[in-house]
Amino acid sequence: MGSGKFDFALGIGGAAGQGIATPGDILARIFVRRGLHLNTYNAYQSIIRGGHIFLTVRVADRKVLNHGDKLDLLLCLNQDTMTRHLRLLGAGARAIFNSDTIEPGQAAEGVHLCPMPVAQLTNNNRNSLVQNTVALGVMTSMLGLDFKILETILTLQFQRKGQSLVDENVGVARTGFDYAEKNFEPFPFALPTGPKPLAVWSGNEALAMGGAAAGVKFYCAYPMSPSTGVLHWMAQNARELGIMVRQVEDEIGVANMAIGAAHAGCRAMCATSGGGFALMTEAIGMAGMMEVPVVFINVQRAGPSTGVPTKTEQGDLWQALGASQGDFERFIVAPRDALDAFNTIPELFNLADKCQCPGIVISDLLISEGRYSVEPDEINMRPTINRGDLITDPSPSNGYLRYKDTESGISPRATPGLEGHVHVAATDEHDEDGVLISDEFTNPHKRRKMVEKRARKFKGIAEQIAPPQLEGPETAEITLIGWGSTYGVISEAAEQLRELGVTANHLHIKWLVPLHGQHIVDVLSRSKKTIIVENNYSGQFFRYLRSETGLSVTGHIRKYDGEPFMPHHIVNGVLEHLAGKTAHYVPYQEIMV
């Protein structure tokens, strides 16, 4: 608990198949219905049964930027969780466990061990999931909540499966609640209430909803963790929203199908992770050459190759920068959180339509699979849609030049089916009329003209996009620089540093192409010490920034163990840097998941 602010985190650990998600979801619903904000991170492995899963739910009375540094409550669903995580608890924290099956470990002073005699409480109910429901009752009591609140949510959760299941679960939860009332000390705070109920979404759902709001009519994908949530949302909502959703044979097919649909006039989108993105890259170049606006999402996971499929990393920046052979124009954007991901999609579609080129979104497991509270009013489901220079009227004559060499480089686009605009779009270099110049009629002057025409589309484009803003004091001892999903954790680290008396500010980069290079140089020229924080080994963003601007920085904090940063990782790195101990800090991951 921070001083004067409500800030509470609980962890639920067990094996895959032990039903961790259900108590996690129920608690999340209780919190957001009270108007409390939350941020959850689920550490898991590529396994359907077994292994170790650890769900962190952090809840506060203000926006929660990341899953935090500490735990106030630990629910152990198996012995492994007790063994791994009890040592993380400090004074005042509570560990709940089924005393029939789990031996308590050695806890730090002041930690409350709370054994639940599950068999006794449930008349030897042999359902292995019953301990979760008992624990929900216990936690409701410890949080000082009225049992009715839990009863309502359990009813909502189970009513589809029949009244008897509702009654059973409510009954079991009640025994847990009553047992805790008598035997365990509640937390010494009252759970606050926010001004109005909040909604919950994952980053993948936000990306999918962003697509729906942007007018995506064609979505296709091949399942790949951690991007599959986008496909699931789309499939679930497709019919109601008039979106065509296709699961395709491979990511090569996905990218090509999306381009086919986009060329025919749909807003088309697809999502994958790094391996699938690798398969898409040839097609991304096709979208560049044919000048087709399509959005490709890469939800990064730890690589290379199959890598660590259920872990996070920011390791695909150079893959996106170099996706496909040759020079061509593409947008690359890395949203900083779920709401930003949602808002980014319509903005990117408008830009891609304007410039008739591909757009690449870089998300990662952390944003995409985390679940977050969001204020419903903040979700603009009806954003501005601008399709750019799209011809909609037929013409009786055939003088149309699909790739007309205009001053802006943008050639008015007609889609198949419209009379008078018949043309061929080709992956070979072509002239203004679409006729190939690559084979029989190669002509260096035409080639140069067409390369320059396409490149001109991006002239001055950065000025049409909001540049990154420095957050925190104008001048500071330390400027933290990040990109994409690390926004929340760096913001909180900067705040913690300020509380420690270190003035820190934060520059976060979202648009990678176009990069606001001069603006970044100007901002950083006022900084004393500069540290780039990245979730990768080689400093991909640092190397990119240096290649584009010539800028260097004084320090680096990099993490590449598959787990996301926690605020104290960054704070410690900054303190060591300021103390002159290291210019390259790699934090130690304390939680073993």
Partner: protein, 302 residues
């Protein structure tokens, strides 16, 4: 937001001629290439069916025969090697009113694009796939292809290919294609009739076309095919009988069959897709969400 309200400048009677389908450039194929016969047949088929150039989308991959869209006056997409069927599926789903014709070669379709061939067939996407099968890689100057005969000597198999060729006809039948035919570019009249049937067929139509490469394949040229080719319709073949179709398709000796091997009724992907039940092509529908849709989505998140 802009949407297309009408597709034709003015409604007036029109009369089509083959030259209406002549592309902006002359074909760059070698003199004697089988692909000329395919081009002429398709132009004729489109005239006879009364399809106008702007109603047609040709999609190709890469290879000699994949240069086809540039030589044919219609909307066209000259895409990546092996990817034509995937691109065409996307375009057809976006605008299912288009007549989609995919053109390419044996290497493009059965080699690098083999995966898409399998899945486009089983999805029964309503398009016509014309494979100009010359049993050789021509544009790369003569290497073995997935349909090259065993023992064939090419630049990449100087001592003879040891692999079995793929049989496109049986492969298409096994994968669920609903119209499977074989043509010969040396018999354009027969080919034109096959093309008309294929275009009118609702579903995935394959016409594997013997389209000899006179430059790089001297084993399977016109003189090889002419004495061997027999028409299925002259043999009383029942195109509803898939077993007989497979048997006929396997013949590769003194007799090689052309014609319609199999045709069956099965709903095509656009007919099966509920999103297309009403409202016209999705590429022409208004973008964005209604406020009712938006509210429903938000409510489910609470």
């Amino acid at each position: 937001m802009s949407t297309v309200s009408k597709l034709v400048a003015e409604d007036r009677p029109y009369e089509l001629k083959s030259k209406d389908f002549k592309g902006k450039v002359e074909p760059d194929w070698c003199p004697g290439c089988g692909d000329f016969g395919v081009l002429n047949s398709l132009q004729k088929a489109c005239v006879e069916l009364g399809r106008r150039p702007h109603e047609i989308l040709t999609v190709s991959g890469i290879g000699c025969s994949s240069n086809f869209p540039g030589f044919f006056n219609a909307y066209g997409m000259h895409t990546l090697h092996g990817r034509a069927l995937a691109v065409a599926t996307g375009a057809k789903m976006a605008n299912h009113e288009l007549t989609v014709i995919v053109t390419g070669g044996d290497g493009d379709g059965y080699g690098i694009g083999g995966n898409h061939f399998t899945h486009t067939a089983r999805r029964n996407v309503d398009l016509t796939y014309l494979v100009m099968n010359n049993q050789i890689y021509g544009l790369t100057t003569g290497q073995v292809s997935p349909t090259s005969c065993s023992g064939m000597k090419t630049k990449s198999t100087p001592f003879g290919s040891v692999e079995l060729p793929i049989n496109p006809i049986t492969a298409a039948i096994m994968n669920g294609a609903t119209f499977v035919a074989r043509g010969f570019s040396g018999d354009p009249k027969h080919l034109t009739e096959l093309m008309k049937k294929a275009i009118l067929h609702k579903g995935f139509s394959l016409i594997d076309i013997f389209s000899p490469c006179v430059t790089f394949n001297h084993d399977n040229d016109y003189t090889f095919f002419r004495p061997r080719i027999k028409k299925l319709e002259d043999e009383g073949h029942d195109s509803g009988d898939w077993k007989a179709a497979c048997e006929k398709a396997m013949a590769w000796g003194d007799t090689i069959y052309i014609g319609l091997f199999l045709q069956k009724e099965r709903r095509s992907l656009d007919q099966l897709e509920p999103v297309l039940d009403e409202g016209g092509p999705i590429c022409r529908r208004p973008l964005g969400l209604s406020s009712e849709q938006a509210q429903r989505i938000i409510k489910r998140m609470m």
